[in-house]
């Protein structure tokens, strides 16, 4: 399960609107406890795929290093990532799984239809490595004033 504050959830969705028609991307920092990836901070990142930003994203390794250090300084971990699918469903693609290497992390995808954030889904990357990795649907718990369950 992915647990996230409503404000962070809205921020990552808004990021997809801001970068439309290009894909946005960012990193989810928090803690992973008992099968729950709890997001405590989101960090928007730049998409280096300027050659095909409408259907590809890539976060520069040097930016990842900076974000990972930022997380370490706050005793947080990288627990997931997010990106958008402009004018396409919020489902993982063959490119998404081929390029996913962070086992046990959450991959959040928001469909952005004509510039407006639509559906947001989360997928957990499971497995032991490249040979058996797979995505599975993951519920999203959105925290507001009181915990509520909100899923796909």
């Amino acid at each position: 399960m992915l647990r996230i504050q409503f404000s962070d959830y809205e921020t990552l969705r808004a990021h997809g609107e801001q970068t439309y028609p290009h894909e946005c991307c960012g990193v989810l920092l928090g803690r992973s406890i008992d099968g729950v990836n709890e997001v405590l901070e989101i960090v928007p990142a730049g998409n280096t795929r300027t050659d095909s930003a409408h259907n590809r994203y890539n976060i520069a390794p040097v930016e990842l290093i900076r974000i990972q250090r930022q997380a370490r300084a706050r005793s947080l971990d990288i627990v997931g990532f997010y990106h958008s699918h402009p004018d396409h469903p919020a489902q993982w693609s063959s490119t998404d799984i081929a390029e996913a290497h962070w086992i046990a992390c959450s991959y959040v995808i928001t469909s952005v239809a004509h510039g407006r954030a639509d559906v947001t889904n989360s997928f957990l990357l499971s497995g032991t490595g490249e040979e058996d990795k797979s995505f599975s649907d993951e519920p999203i718990e959105i925290l507001v004033s009181e915990p509520v369950s909100a899923t796909r």
Binding site: E23, C25, V27, S32, R49, S52, N55, R56, Y57, N58, I59, P61, V62, L64, I65, Q68, R72, D77, I78, V79, F81, H83, H85, P86, H88, P89, Q91, W92, S93, S94, T95, D96, I97, A98, E99, A100, H101, W102, I103, A104, C105, Y107, G129, E130, K133, S134
Partner: protein, 107 residues
């Protein structure tokens, strides 16, 4: 020197975020790491012994691929090595040839 381990690989380092090693080069440091934690080897290195293409390794602030001596670059006790798998993806793949991804929905 210290090697920082990314979240997905800590399952193979007993949960450790950082591992101290004693070595003279980047390559020797990584070898010391996988010697101590053998299950890491397949996640870091391909069958030919080279780092997997999606595994980025930074010596302090520098990507080792762009250092003059690359993996043979010398290291000191105060250096930090950071392992960071790549983050990429996107909608609408042009090709989907891997068996692993055959079930991916078209989008």
């Amino acid at each position: 020197m210290t090697i920082h381990i990314p979240t997905p690989l800590r399952a193979y380092t007993s949960g450790k975020e950082s591992v101290p090693v004693s070595a003279d080069t980047v390559a020797a440091s990584l070898e010391a790491l996988v010697t101590e934690y053998p299950a890491l080897r397949g996640n870091l290195f391909a069958a030919d012994g080279k780092l997997r293409s999606f595994v980025n390794v930074y010596l302090n602030e520098d990507d080792i691929r762009y250092l003059p001596a690359k993996e043979a670059s010398p290291v000191t006790a105060s250096d930090e090595l950071t392992i960071i798998p790549s983050i990429a993806g996107g909608c609408c793949a042009a090709t989907a040839s891997r068996a692993l991804v055959r079930t991916a929905p078209a989008c």
